[in-house]
């Protein structure tokens, strides 16, 4: 009868006493599957969602992802439906839209850009009653940008607030 090879203990190497490697592997694999399933359900971005707000004068719709990952490109679409004529439609965005995020293009170009109490203001001009104005931002998340911040959007006609969309963004590494 041959000896057991050196450094092998039968209780461990043959009988696996005190070893939970199979259970640990199954738990680990389950954790991986849960992680992948969460990703499939958009937990880590970056499927866009639609948020709307409206008043008697206009309806504002924002279509953009609320969860993104560092380094990725994405698009935000703003749609204004004018119920009555808007003399000077202005979109005011929280700084979270640009904090650690590169704005690659703005389409169509606004008539003017300004800061309104620390927020980004885009003057879009006149929108006749019954018509719509669609405005796109093409963005890229800076790779080192991680966290959660507010991305509220407000629609003004001149200095009159018409509608507010409450949004936030979560950026994963």
């Amino acid at each position: 009868m041959a000896d057991v090879p050196d450094q092998l203990v039968l209780k461990v190497a043959r009988d696996r006493e005190g070893r939970r490697d199979v259970i640990a592997r199954r738990i680990g694999l389950s954790a991986l599957l849960v992680f992948l399933a969460l990703a499939a359900f958009n937990v880590f971005g970056q499927r866009p969602s639609t948020t709307t707000a409206e008043s008697e004068a206009a309806k504002l719709e924002v279509y953009a992802p609320e969860r993104v990952r560092g380094g990725l490109y994405y698009e935000a679409r703003f749609r204004i439906d004018a119920v009555r004529e808007l003399e000077n439609a202005t979109l005011v965005l929280d700084p979270g839209w640009a904090e650690g995020i590169t704005i690659n293009t703005i389409v169509p170009s606004p008539l003017g850009e300004a800061s309104r109490d620390g927020r980004l203001a885009f003057e879009l001009g006149r929108v006749p009653a019954g018509q719509k104005h669609v405005f796109f931002l093409h963005l890229q998340v800076n790779p080192t940008n991680v966290g959660h911040r507010s991305q509220d959007v407000q629609l003004y006609d001149g200095d009159t607030l018409l509608a507010t969309v409450d949004r936030s963004i979560t950026i994963f590494p």
């Binding site: 009868m1 041959a2 092998l8 190497a13 043959r14 070893r19 490697d21 680990g28 991986l32 590494p173």
Partner: protein, 150 residues
């Protein structure tokens, strides 16, 4: 600094995946496995360095992986009973006195056919009954000790 953190996180993730997948899957380098490993390396690199194309960034990421490798090795060496089984796994006996241990084979997803093939390839042993010991090592290789050598 964030590139070091990303490198540490990805190192731990790769360790977690390799320990979860199992050693047999990683020890065989069939053409498909080889391609998978190369692709996996590329995916990991992108997550670690992202848009950083600098020499400094590459040195930080590579250096972090090197330090983590040495750290894991040191921990296994320093605490062989407590940490080595967790970090590297431990050997599993698959054949004892010519008898395959079905429970251990099943736990490591190794078929009798694969065991016989490994015996032929690695030890030129035609029959499992001629194997005194077969041990699945921590590297994923199966070592065979024939009966007549004991």
């Amino acid at each position: 600094m964030d590139i070091v953190i990303r490198a540490v996180v990805m190192f731990l993730f790769v360790w977690f995946v390799t320990r979860t997948v199992g050693r047999r899957e990683l020890s065989t380098l069939e053409p498909f496995d080889l391609i998978l490993l190369v692709v996996l390396g590329d995916l990991i690199q992108q997550g670690v360095t992202q848009n950083d194309f600098t020499v400094t960034g590459a040195m930080l990421a590579g250096g972090t992986f090197a330090v983590m490798t040495v750290l894991f090795s040191f921990l296994s060496f320093r605490f062989p009973r407590r940490l080595a089984p967790v970090l590297e796994g431990d050997p599993v006996i698959l054949v004892e006195h010519g008898q395959p241990l079905e429970r251990n084979l099943r736990r490591n997803r190794i078929t009798t056919e694969e065991l016989a093939a490994q015996a032929r390839i690695n030890a030129q042993i035609a029959h499992i009954k001629d194997v005194e010991w077969a041990v699945l090592e921590t590297s994923g290789q199966i070592s065979f000790i024939p009966k007549n050598s004991s």
